[in-house]
């Protein structure tokens, strides 16, 4: 993993790529991927893509378990509930769908006015938030739906709460610990903390200067990392929005994720916009995914091998399983306009677990 270019970095955690070809050969997706999610145990991996298809895979070998068909537009986002019974997806067809994970049955469709860019269950799975676009005269909104965990139950049609953030629209959002707050990331690089029950904005500041592309929480949801097109990823405390850490890179970032257990790392990825990729070589596009030490704010290494920008990163929720630990999804664009969808699954070598920084 160490290349002549990063000869001065510390010994890198060893990461191997597996399964990329399998997922591709299985022809899971034909267009670029937008989000990936592990379930709580990490045995299932959910992928959504611009090709309108939602897939679920066995995470240990990359075999496809099933496909959820029904969306009429690009699927932007998905999340799975803690018991792995329900899957929620948001799409450019202005709808949010609830699926039964086991059978692929669509349980409920909520119609929205605009595309839904981000969905997320609460820790208990009794609610889900949906970030919808600001478009065609409709304001961007964060809608909270009540979810009945019983698959046979009737789901409520009416949204539980709707928040309309003023100013810059929300691009991403997530639940903080104990569902106390909703944290939003905005298009202008600001982040805000909301008391969702009273729809009141509690805290607000602007740590980034460009659109926030991703927000992922720590395991206990007490802190989170934002990724932004301004080439930085930053860590904040959820209750105070105090900035804790900052990672400056040289490329616009699309995703950032913590590694739970074993190593205190942050994995970030991004790269040039897909539309500009064909004009430069892979090396120039900065498509590596980078490992940073979360606490020391030092870059430790990079994983290469991507031919296009990294769209989204997810890390296996349980670091103890050495089989599958990280997934990077990336889209590749050609000048003809066609797009491929690839999933890359990387696993860590022993070196990764042994790695210890001098301190």
């Amino acid at each position: 993993m160490t290349s002549p270019e990063n000869f001065l970095w510390q010994p890198c955690p060893a990461v191997n790529c597996i399964f990329e070809t399998q997922l591709h050969r299985n022809n899971g997706h034909t267009r670029s991927l937008t989000q990936i999610k592990y379930n709580r145990e990490g045995d299932l991996l959910f992928t959504v893509s611009k090709d309108k298809v939602v897939n679920v895979w066995f995470s240990h070998n990359g075999e496809r378990l099933g496909t959820y068909i029904g969306h009429q537009g690009s699927v932007w986002t998905c999340d799975v509930n803690p018991t792995s019974t329900l899957l929620i997806t948001g799409s450019a067809d202005n709808s949010v769908k609830l699926w039964e994970v086991r059978t692929g049955r669509c349980l409920k469709t909520w119609e929205f006015k605009t595309a839904v860019k981000r969905v997320e269950f609460t820790e208990e799975g009794d609610m889900a938030l949906c970030v919808s676009e600001q478009r065609m005269g409709f304001p961007g909104a964060v809608t909270i739906l009540e979810i009945n965990p019983d698959i046979d139950a009737e789901q409520s049609d009416e949204p539980f709460v709707v928040i309309y953030p003023e100013g810059s629209k929300a691009t991403v959002a997530g639940w903080s610990y104990l569902n106390k707050y909703i944290i939003m990331g905005h298009e202008d690089g600001s982040i805000s903390q909301w008391d969702w029950k009273s729809q009141e904005r509690l805290k607000f500041h602007q740590p980034h200067v460009d659109v926030i592309t991703d927000i992922q929480f720590s395991e206990d949801r007490s802190y989170f990392v934002t990724a932004s097109k301004d080439k930085t990823a930053q860590v904040f405390e959820a209750s105070t929005l105090d900035p804790l850490k900052k990672f400056s890179t040289d490329t616009p970032l699309n995703s950032a994720s913590f590694t739970p257990r074993y190593q205190e790392f942050v994995v970030v990825g991004g790269g040039q916009e897909a539309m500009n990729v064909t004009t430069t070589g892979a090396r120039a596009g900065k498509f590596e995914c980078r490992f940073w030490h979360k606490i020391l704010e030092e870059e430790l290494g990079r994983v290469k091998g991507h031919f296009g920008p990294i769209n989204t990163i997810a890390v296996h929720p349980d670091g103890r399983r050495t089989v599958l630990t990280m997934v990077i999804i990336w889209g590749r664009s050609f000048s003809s306009g066609g797009e491929d969808g690839y999933v890359r699954v990387h696993t860590f070598d022993d070196d990764y677990y042994k790695f210890k920084i001098d301190a």
């Binding site: 007490s222 020391l296 399983r321 001098d358 301190a359």
Partner: protein
Amino acid sequence: MDKSHVLAVNRFTDVERYNQVPDNHTAPPEEEFVEKEHLKSWLTDPQSRDQWVMYRADDVSIFWNRKTEAPEHVYSRTNWTETYVQWSPLGTYLTTFHRQGIVIWGGPSWNKINRFVHPGVKLIDFSPNERYLVTWSNEPISLAKIPDGTPSPFADDDEGNQVAIWDVHSGLLLRSFSVVQSGESKITWPMFKWSPSDKFFARVTPGQQISVYEAPDMGLVGKKSYKVEGVIDFEWSPARPDKEEKKGAQKEEVLSYWTPEIGNQPARVTLLAIPSKEIVRTKNLFNVNECKLHWQSQGAFLAVKVDRHTKTKKSTVTNLEIFRIREKEIPVETVEIKDPIIAFAWEPAGERFAVITTADTPGQSVAGAVPGAGAPPPTTTRTNITFYYLDKSKTVISFKVMSFIFERGQRFLAAPPHVLRLFTHTRQPTLTHLAPSENLEKKVSNNIFWSPKGRHVVLATLRNTTVWDLEFWDLDFEGPVDTAKKVDPAKPEDLGGSIQLLAVREHYGVTDVEWDPTGRFVVTGASMWRPTVADHGYCIWDFKGQPLFKQNIDKFKQLLWRPRPKTLLSKEAMKKIRKGLREYSRKFEQEDAIVDDEASAEVLAHRRRLLDEWYSWRKRVEAQLLEERRNRGMEIRGAVTDGQEDDEVVEEWIEEVIEETEELVPE
């Protein structure tokens, strides 16, 4: 008019002014003496480190080089300059560019030393000893444009001029000049070239004359320009006149110029003494397309690169005419090169030079192919690199090829770095030329960077879209490195045989290469100013090509080593130091070790602190979360996962048919 008549002119404004001089003299108020800062304070660094200035985004910062450590920050300012920064030639001042003019800074606190008001200034040039400053603006000076009330250095005479010459110490305008109108819209810079003593400066009016001015009076030497029909370009010899009154000593400053063929008169290179304007030496040349004058840094040699066409004018050949200035009668030696030269460079203070030639794209113009200033080769051009040295062993002293066309193919580049040092060459006694071999695709270096102390050379491939090679050469490689046994000038035989390629490195996307003033370090940068494909940032290497430090810096623009003034040590003192080098190096190594330990201890302490802070914060947050969860009667997550040792066992059957045979069982 003749010599006995002098026409003297007084201005009306002057007459008026002197009429109004008050009769009683009042002494101007005495200004309190303010001690100025020591402008050369950076040289007193206890470790004799070097500084550089770095310009990234809108920030200009000064750093100390700390080799493998992150550089030590000295001073920073946001928006310190509007376009770029430049050091004065001896490193005393840092120059910043602003809409309104130039500001120079210096001293330990980086205070403003002086400012030079010249609206729209784009280019500057210091005299070699930093006494004078020349500035050029693309906007003609317009008094009307300068707002009322602001002090303006310009008078009516300066209206419409574009070049100004300033006294660096006082900040006063000495004179302004208009730009010579020539057919080309591009200006050549430096427009005024300074003699090494700062005493004279000159510029050429192409085709007509060389105007030599005297500083600080700003008048023409001999009150008139030196007319030379057809003159194209000139260069000052860097040698200052000898102070001693010994025979054969150079008494005056020397400049060289060349004229192309005009009618029946051949092209000619002339050496001219200033201020006497005596011709020291001329050399006629035939079939000349273009000449380029390259002085060796001490003025001992002048190499004239001559691009000539054959009689049929169909093909061009290149040769070098080398003037050996210090010898009696100034002998001129012709070195045939044949292929177009894309780069030429003298070893600083040495008797060697390097040329890069190419056989590709014959007929392509190679004018202006000075390192760093040349037009970029459009594609990857295959090149040959040749080093020459002055062979004094024979009765006829002449320049010889040190080594010729290195066989540097793929095979060689693929070898790991530690093998590379075994790559030796034997000296070639005669000038031989080999046809470029077909498989040497990697041979594309197009820039020569000599160490300022000579001996070491970096050959770089710049402005290329696929290759970013850096080659570190040692021209005095004598077995294992023995610092006590340095180059012995009495044994020129050694010069030819010890050339060595120390390392081949790559800095992906490199756009600039710069040696530090001591010749120990090389910085390669990838600047956002040039079209580069890679991360912006810089790398520090030692002279052997070992990477020391690398930093990627978003919006990295410029990194310039702070130049050092000439050493004040006498030759004897330097010899003494060289003798005691072992002693010194032991001391330095000890110091380095201490610094290393300190630095790593510092880093470790910093990390320790960060970790402690983080974990104590985590402890607090976790305790608080646990409390809140308990109060709400929620699942305690950590306990669940810790209690269950339920590592899932995934069984997978893989069947593989190793062999399949079909047999017919007889019935």
